[in-house]
């Protein structure tokens, strides 16, 4: 399950809208759902007491968990103490990741998910509007360059410390689709155990830059083709051995908790093993840091939310 304890964000992605006016909006992660760390710990321990399958707790938003350093870390700190059997995971845009790695490692962190949409600042400038860095707002290529450097540094630091790193990317046709092959090669070479490519979902109704500017998402075939090229197969799992079955079971542990209602079209059977991994970790196609939690019919997507880890 996930808990929404992290409302603040330190970057602006073109697929995310921080302001959501829709009166019918009921995404997780909206302000009414925001929990304090104490409330989150109570909720998690209560759920865990009743649902033994609840073994993994994730913090993914609604903003960037590491931009809410104290809220996120105090939730982890308390859970590590009160519920040592629960594994923790966190999703981040990576901007402040290097500063937090050591403290994260003090807790039962199972894996960290970094949303990496590019490794080229020129591409990044088409995806990110600004970042907040060293007490200033930095726009364009300059901001994207810092973000990319921090993400890659954070990835390297986590791998060095033996923490599993999953990378999420949002496929944005004409912006980073070709580029994601390079992203995939690089993050795997550095030791990311899974690279999950998700489709951009952009509608004008979402009020996002991409939605309003008419940026399209990928077709099903385009997405599948790129996912094939980026190959979601885990690369590094040194501490845990590596049978496919094990991986599947392992990955299904995250976010599969009965306390949350992820849409899970399809099911988890048959030969679609790799899809299982992608679904289990990516929750049927999230979009990095904006939500795309999506109801299967496409409603209530594209705002923010927290189901990403």
């Amino acid at each position: 399950m996930h808990v929404a304890v992290a409302p603040a964000c330190n970057i602006q992605c073109h697929y995310c809208n921080r302001k959501y006016d829709c009166a019918n909006e009921s995404r997780p992660g909206v302000v009414s759902e925001l929990l304090t760390p104490d409330q989150a710990v109570r909720k998690v321990t209560a759920v865990a007491a009743n649902i033994p399958q609840m073994t993994v707790l994730g913090i993914a938003g609604p903003g960037d968990p590491l931009a809410n350093r104290e809220r996120t870390l105090s939730t982890f700190r308390e859970l590590t103490e009160k519920a040592p059997d629960i594994k923790l995971c966190v999703s981040t845009n990576g901007l402040t990741l290097p500063d937090v790695v050591d403290e994260l490692c003090e807790h039962n962190i199972d894996h960290v998910t970094i949303t990496v949409n590019c490794v080229d600042p020129e591409v990044g400038a088409k995806i990110y509007s600004w970042i907040f860095w060293k007490n200033r707002r930095i726009k364009g290529v300059k901001g994207a360059k810092i973000l990319i450097e921090q993400q890659q540094k954070g990835l390297e630091m986590l791998v060095e410390r033996g923490v599993l790193v999953k990378v999420n990317s949002v496929m944005i046709p004409g912006v980073n689709d070709e580029h994601l092959k390079e992203v995939s090669r690089i993050v795997k070479a550095k030791g990311a155990f899974l690279h999950n490519v998700m489709p951009l979902i952009a509608e004008a109704e979402h009020g996002t830059f991409y939605g309003l500017m008419g940026q399209r998402g990928p077709t099903h075939d385009e997405l599948r083709a790129l996912q094939g090229e980026c190959d979601a197969r885990p690369f590094h799992r040194p501490a845990q051995g590596g049978s496919l079955l094990f991986r599947r079971r392992y990955l299904r542990g995250c976010g599969d908790g009965a306390a949350e209602d992820h849409p899970r079209p399809g099911g988890l059977r048959g030969g679609a093993l790799r899809e299982d991994w992608v679904r289990a970790l990516g929750h049927a196609g999230g979009c990095g840091h904006c939500a795309q939690w999506g109801a299967p019919d496409g409603t209530h997507r594209g705002g923010r939310g927290g189901c990403l880890s």
Binding site: Q12, A67, F132, R137
Partner: protein, 92 residues
């Protein structure tokens, strides 16, 4: 002189921990700035911190009542594009 948070604030908490004067506080329907405490970050930072992290255009006013982040400045969405899209959506 003091900055001001107005309607539009989404209560995301981003500004609150950054304020060097602890002038920002949670309130309903949105966060507020204590005008007596706000220093506009003078002497602490080159840029006013609340205005520099706020993701919402128009939500933070400077000491003259001028939006620090005018329409289009943060999202990159041209205001006329936003207006026409919103008009179109409301007709549906």
């Amino acid at each position: 002189m003091a900055f001001k948070i107005i309607e539009g604030c989404v209560n995301c908490w981003a500004c609150e921990p950054l304020c060097p004067s602890q002038a920002i506080f949670e309130s309903k329907p949105h966060f507020m700035i204590d005008a007596k405490k706000c220093t506009e970050c003078e002497g602490d930072y080159l840029d006013a911190q609340c205005a520099s992290i706020c993701p919402i255009e128009g939500a933070v006013l400077d000491g003259f009542g001028v939006p620090t982040n005018p329409p289009g400045s943060l999202t990159g969405i041209p205001p006329e594009r936003l207006a026409s899209a919103m008009a179109e959506i409301q007709v549906r």
